[in-house]
Every structure is written in C-alpha cells, then in structure tokens.
C-alpha cells in the first residue's frame, strides 16, 4: 500500500513539473513576441506584421486569391498582412467564445449584439479597450462615423469595438410577396398592426391552398412598444417611459392582447402548424409560397430583397425607426485583448473604414475577376462572384461600397437621412451588468427556452400558458434580475442625467 502511494505522489510531482514547464514555455513565448511587437511598430523597413482576423460568414472558395491581393495592398499602405479566418453564422458565437476563453492568438474579431455578444465579452475582458487607439491610429474612423455609433457602443464608459457605418435605427416592416399581392389586388397601404393583416391572410388561405400565408419562424416576437433590458427576456421599459420602470412584459395588457392575435394566426392556419420548432423558412422563400413576413428595413431594402429572392418584394412599415442598443451594435470589429499588434490592427481598421479600394476589394473581390466597374462608383457582379460572396455589413463602413446596377444614385444620402430620422430608445447607452445575477439568469434562460417560442408563435393558448410562464419565471428568479436591472438603470440615470 505504501509503495503504491509513494508511486502515486511521484506521478503527481512529475505531472506538476511538466505543467510548470508547459506554462513557463508559454510565458516565454509571449514575452518574446511582445518585445518584437513594440520594436517593429515605429519603423516600416522591418518585417511586415501579420494580423489574424476572425469574422463572420460562410468561408469562400476564392478567399485566398482575394486575400493575396489585399495583402499586397495593405503591405504597401501600412506594412501589414491579413490572415482572414471566416466562421459561418451558425457557429460563430460558440467557436469564438471557446477561442477567446482559451487564449487563441488573434488580433481582430467581429462582434455584435446578435453573435459573440459584444457587451458581455467586453466585460469578460475579451477585447482591448480602444479609447486611445481610436484617438490616434483610428482618428479617421471617428471622423467618418455618426457619433451615435461610438456613443451607443460604449461599455461602462469605454469603447471596445469599431462599429460599422451603416443604418443606425431599426425599423420593422411587413414584407409582401408582390406577385400574390397583385394577383388578389390586396391593399397593403392600410396595414400596420398585426390585426390589420388578418383579412389579407384570410384571402390567401382560402384561395391558395399550397401557400403558407405568414412565413414565421420560432424566433418570432410581435412588434411591441418595449425597449428590452436583455433581448428576448421578458423585462423591459416602455418606449415612451418617463420613470424608467422595468416591467415584466408578460404581465402587461399590451402583450396579452397581442398574443391573442398571434393565437388567431395559428388557429386559422396562417402559419405553419410546426412554427414553434421552425428555424428557417428558406424553402418558402425559394418557392415563393408565402405572402407576408416581417423584417428590419433600411433605405431601398425592397430592391435588395427582390434581388436576393429573385421575385419582387414590397414592404410597408410595422413600427417606427428607433435606435436601440442592439441596432447600434449590429456590426463591429474589436481588437483582441491578447493581440500582439494592437496599433497595427487599429491602423488596418482605420484603412478598412476609410479606403474605398481596400473596402471594396474585401467586399467584392478582384476587379475583372469577381466584378467589373460600370462607372466611377457603380459595379456589376461577374459569374465568378459566387465564389466570393461576403456579408457586406460585417466588414465596416458600408457607405464606401460601390453601388450595384439599379441602385439609386442617392443611396448613401438616404441612409444618412434614415439615420437622422431615428428616435433614441430609452435605454440607449445602458448596458446591463449581469455578473451579480448570473445564477438566476441561467435558470431564467431555461424557462424562456421552454415557453417563449410556444407563446410568441401562438402554438399554445395564452390564457392557459401565460400564467404558467409568469409563475415559472418568478420561481427561476426573474424578480431578482429585474430588481438588479432597475437598480443599475437608476444609477445610470443618476450618472448620465437621463
């Protein structure tokens, strides 16, 4: 017995020695490269720096080809090359969480309100604080960006990301399949609320048996007059709030009324009977067998949608343009906390947001291969463009990108007008610090997953399930989370004078 124990302790000791060795090596490496970094920044004659850039989107076949061209350009401009790594939309949050947590080397990464959550990861220390870098290497970004972007994306008073210059407010619209609208001569001008859709949906349901009148997915949430503390959790303040009181939206008369309408949609068969598990309605979009759905708009969005669907789409407003935290943080690039070359990374972001040549190269590929220019700032996609199809919004300033054929000349002016028309949501600039209630939040999330989709899509009877959901949310500790949110909002108001 005793020899065995001795052997075991010997094993443990060697294990620890090995661990120390491994950590020591890691530490040394870091220190060495840090020295390199500070040495190479000032002079341009030294070896170019390689920046590792993680961003969202499906990996593209011709990415290497385009990046070779990009690197030639950036090497000349800022003596840096880019290693672009793309992760598809569905995997982005999870993969990035793990990579950030394990300290994977990276310099620039995409972050936003809906993938790889910006506020939470900024708080956890995943991103470098950019206040100084923005004033120095990134000053051209500050000059081009609507100040609301930088103001609205501050976390605890500091900037951790470079927002893309794009549409600022979020406005919900009803989108219609124009072919069906014309065929039945439907009047969409008077549509605004969900109730007002019912007669139109009824017409389609009765006359077009193979068509799903409303293309709804399980994430559906009706347009409600609330500004949510955390997206898709039932605590919010009213958009027209005076006292900033946090309410449980499940207990409000507005939601109760709306859920009745959604339930009618479900019962009448306007939506798929399986809507509470439907994650995508791409098949409906592809076949054109739908009449209406809802989407966030931007100027000339109808053109965009018509092009991507392949048939005409018309839309009409379902809400007002409002600037929310999540719309401001819709697309950002952050610099990783463990970046070895933060200054270079900011120089690159600066170039990306101000230099049309670089911006369009990354967005549309190589001129003459993936696209050709029709005039000064108008381009046309060539056949090869399907091998290099990037999500435009994710790469910074969209107002630098070339217009597509058919886009109106004043597109970006309209964007600026749209941005000015936005109304500030009450909680714009407030970010909930969840660290004190993380236990309760984990339970609350589970209750939300259980009831949210079923209630919001009308799959279950709200009269029966709404009280159940309210009770379970309470049991999971929603009241405590709301109280904490209220406390932080009050403090924030006192500090900012809202």
């Amino acid at each position: 017995m005793s020899t065995r124990r001795k052997k075991f302790s010997l094993l443990l000791t060697s294990l620890m020695a090995l661990t120390l060795l491994v950590t020591a090596c890691g530490g040394n490496n870091n220190a060495a490269s840090n020295n390199n970094a500070s040495g190479s920044t000032p002079s341009k004659s030294e070896k170019p720096v390689e920046l590792i850039w993680y961003t969202v989107g499906a990996p593209q076949k011709d990415a290497d080809l385009v990046m070779a061209e990009v690197n030639k350009y950036t090497k000349e401009k800022i003596n840096a090359t880019i290693k672009l790594k793309m992760i598809d939309f569905g995997d982005y949050s999870q993969k990035m969480q793990v990579m950030a947590a394990s300290g994977e080397p990276m310099d620039i990464m995409f972050t936003c309100s809906w993938a790889f959550d910006y506020v939470q990861n900024a708080r956890k220390g995943a991103f470098m604080q950019l206040d100084d870098l923005l004033q120095n290497q990134g000053k051209d970004i500050v000059a081009t960006l609507d100040p609301a972007f930088l103001e609205g994306s501050k976390v605890d008073g500091h900037n951790y990301g470079v927002p893309a210059n794009k549409e600022l407010p979020a406005q919900e619209v009803w989108r219609f399949n124009k072919e069906l609208v014309d065929k039945y001569n439907l009047d969409i001008t008077n549509v605004k609320s969900m109730e007002s859709l019912i007669p139109l949906l009824k017409t389609i349901k009765e006359n077009e048996p193979g068509v799903t009148p409303y293309a709804m997915v399980k994430d559906f949430v009706p347009v409600m007059p609330f500004d949510y503390v955390i997206e898709k959790l039932p605590m919010a303040v009213y958009l027209d709030t005076e006292d900033y009181k946090v309410v449980n939206i499940l207990e409000t008369p507005e939601l109760k009324e709306t859920l009745k309408t959604v339930r009618t949609f479900y019962k009448e068969g306007f939506v798929s009977p399986e809507v509470s598990t439907v994650t995508s309605v791409d098949d409906l979009y592809k076949s054109g067998k739908w009449l209406v759905d809802r989407a966030s708009t931007q100027p000339f969005a109808d053109n965009l949608w018509s092009t991507s669907m392949g048939y005409p789409i018309v839309s009409t407003p379902a809400g007002d343009p409002i600037i929310y935290n999540w719309s401001v943080m819709g697309s950002m690039q952050a610099i990783s906390a463990n970046s070895k070359y933060p200054e270079k990374a900011m120089e690159f972001l600066n170039l990306l947001n101000t230099d049309p040549v670089l911006r369009n190269m990354i967005d549309s590929g190589i001129e003459g291969v993936h696209y050709e220019k029709v005039s000064e700032n108008v381009m046309k996609n060539l056949d090869k463009s399907k091998d290099y199809d990037m999500p435009t919004f994710a790469f910074g300033n969209v107002m630098l990108t070339y217009l597509n054929e058919g886009d109106p000349e004043n597109k970006w002016d309209e964007f600026k007008k749209f941005n000015e028309s936005g109304i500030d949501a009450p909680l714009l600039g407030f970010n909930f610090d969840t660290s004190k209630v993380s236990t309760e939040l984990a339970s609350v999330q589970n209750v939300k997953e259980e009831y949210w989709a079923a209630l919001m899509t009308g799959t279950v009877d709200p009269d029966e399930y709404l009280p159940k959901a309210i009770e379970k949310f309470k049991a999971a500790g929603l009241d405590k989370v709301m109280a904490e949110a209220q406390r932080q909002i009050d403090e924030w108001r006192a500090a900012t004078g809202k």
Binding site: T3, K6, K7, L10, L15, L18, T19, T23, G26, G27, N30, S93, Q94, Q97, A100, A101, S102, G103, D117, Q120, N121, K124, G125, A126, M128, S272, P273, E274, S276, T277, A337, N338, T434, S435, S438, T439, E440, L441, A442, S443, Q445, N446, E449, E450, Y451, W452, A453, A454, T459, V460, A475, A476, G477
Partner: protein
C-alpha cells in the same frame, strides 16, 4: 533515496512493456489528466486575461460553490435529474436485453452472407449523426407532411401534433435511441459469442441439448463477463445524457421540455448566451463526480457477489 533507485531499476526491467504503454499513457496524460487541473475553473468567475489561458485561470477570482447553484436553484433540478437518470436506466437495461438477444440470433444464423447483411443493416444507424436522425424522425412525425399523420388521416384517425404533445416522447426517445445504438452493442456481444469454444456446443448437442438449452447453459453464462463490463461502463455515464438525442430529435420544442430536458440540454440552454465558462465547468465536474461515484459503487457491489467479473 533507495525508493528512487528501486523505481529506476523497475523501469529498466520493464522498459519494453513501458515503451508499448507510452503512447496511450501520454494520450491520457495530455487529454485526460492535464485538463483535470482546469477543474479549478468550476470554482472561479472566469475572466479573460491578455496573457493567455493560464493567466486567465490564475487571475480569475474565487467564488466558492456559486457556480454550482444554478444547477440546483429551481424545480427544474428535479426534472432534469429524473429525466437523465430514468432515460439512461431505460437505455442501459432495454438496450442490454435487446443487444444480447440480437447477438444470439445473429450467431445462430447459418447463412454467413445473410448474417453479414443483417449486421451491416443494424450497424449503419450508429454512424448517422443525431441531426440526420432528427430529420428522419421529423419525416415520420411532422404534423402536416409526416408519414404517420398521413397514415392516420387515410384511416380516418385524427392526426396528432407530435411536437407539442409530451406524453408520447418518452417512448419515441427510447425507441429512437435503441434503433441507433442496439446494432453497435450487439456486435460487441456477437464478437464474444464467436470467441466461445465450438466444442462446448458440439458436446452439448451430443448430449441432446436443444438450441434454447445451449443458449441458456453455454452462451449466456460465457457472455456474463462482457455484459458486466459493458454495463458498468454505461453506468459510469449515467449522468451524461446524449445531447444530440435530447436536443435534435425533439427539435428543441419548448412544450416537450417536461420530458426531454436533461442535464446536458439544461446547461446548454442556460449558458449558451452568457458563455459563463465557470458554470459549464461546474456542471461538468458535478457529472463526473456522480459518474465516478456510481462506477465505484456498482463495481463494489459486483465485487461482493462475483469477484471475477468486477472491473477492478
């Protein structure tokens, strides 16, 4: 000092054996023992540090047992523990009985070609991912285009909203799991049946034993060691639910959570948006500790009754 000398002498004496063990040992060292140090994350509020992973661990602040609280804080704790345990018990025992029966039947098929075809057919589902199995199930259960509801309709029976009626799901889940896993397990048993000395059966036949008697008196007793080992190993994982089965097959339908929510899906749903690594580590540690205890306990019980068949 003498101990150390002895140790190296020992190494020298067994160097060939040790060398053979080396790759496996290294694998375990790096992928099982070294990561165990990360268990401390379960007791920390994990925050990133710019100097990498180890610095992050060291610099994060200790929070004691706080990370474990969310697992036990609501009524859901009871539901998820019950679901995890009951489903796994059902899987282990029904799976065991079916696999052994199938293995015995396969071993009795004299036409080797047919036997191989059956084996392959049963083996195939094991290699499908749960996502695909989920879509298979959906093609049967979809409420408007599913095969089952189509059959019901043509027979004049009212169709069923499968994905919102929780009462059917315990059976559906057990059925789907068995369909996928039984083929693989039966091959393990079949292999050890093939290893049984044929002369035992020949002797039994000369003595006039029937097929059933042969199976009862020869096959099953000789299968007992492998059955025990397989079951013990399965019991060690009784607190781990098959995430794909419980998440993909019911299509993450909220109304079914009462019968489909298990520890793994609960942890996933609670933490996928917040990404609190400390809490996920706590859940993992909890599962490992319970699994470890269960293996030790059941091995102890097995050893009490039948010393030769115990794992250690």
């Amino acid at each position: 000092m003498k101990m150390v000398g002895e140790f190296f002498k020992n190494i020298n004496r067994n160097k060939v054996m040790l060398f053979m063990v080396l790759p496996g040992a290294l694998w375990f060292l790096f992928f099982s023992y070294l990561p165990m140090l990360g268990t401390v994350i379960a007791f920390k509020e994990y925050r990133f540090s710019r100097d990498g992973f180890w610095a992050s661990i060291v610099n994060s602040k200790w929070v004691g047992w706080d990370n474990f609280k969310f697992l036990f804080s609501t009524d859901d704790a009871y539901v998820i523990t019950r679901n995890t345990l009951l489903y796994n018990i059902a899987f282990i025992f029904i799976g065991l009985i079916l696999s052994v029966i199938l293995a015995v039947i396969l071993s009795e098929i004299t036409n080797k070609r047919l036997s191989k075809i059956y084996q392959t057919g049963m083996f195939l589902p094991y290699f499908l991912s749960w996502v695909i199995v989920g879509y298979f199930t959906f093609s049967f259960l979809s409420s408007d285009r599913g095969l089952l509801n189509g059959v019901f309709e043509s027979m004049g029976i009212e169709s069923i909203q499968w994905y919102s009626e929780s009462k059917y799901w315990p059976f559906i889940l057990v059925f789907v799991y068995l369909w996928k896993a039984v083929g693989y397990n039966s091959v393990v048993y079949l292999a050890s049946i093939m290893g049984i000395d044929r002369s035992l059966y020949e002797a039994a036949m000369i003595d006039g034993a029937s097929k059933m008697q042969q199976i009862r008196a020869i096959t099953l007793p000789l299968l007992r060691p492998i059955i025990t080992i397989m079951t013990l190993l399965a019991i060690g994982k009784i607190f781990y639910a098959d995430f794909g089965l419980f998440y993909q097959v019911p299509r993450d339908s909220g109304t079914l959570y009462g019968v489909t929510n298990v520890i793994d899906t609960y942890v996933y749903r609670g933490l996928k948006t917040t990404g609190e690594i400390g809490m996920s580590a706590a859940a993992g540690l909890y599962q490992s500790v319970v699994g470890f205890t269960l293996v030790m306990a059941s091995n102890y019980i097995v050893r009490k009754f039948d010393k030769d068949n115990a794992l250690f």
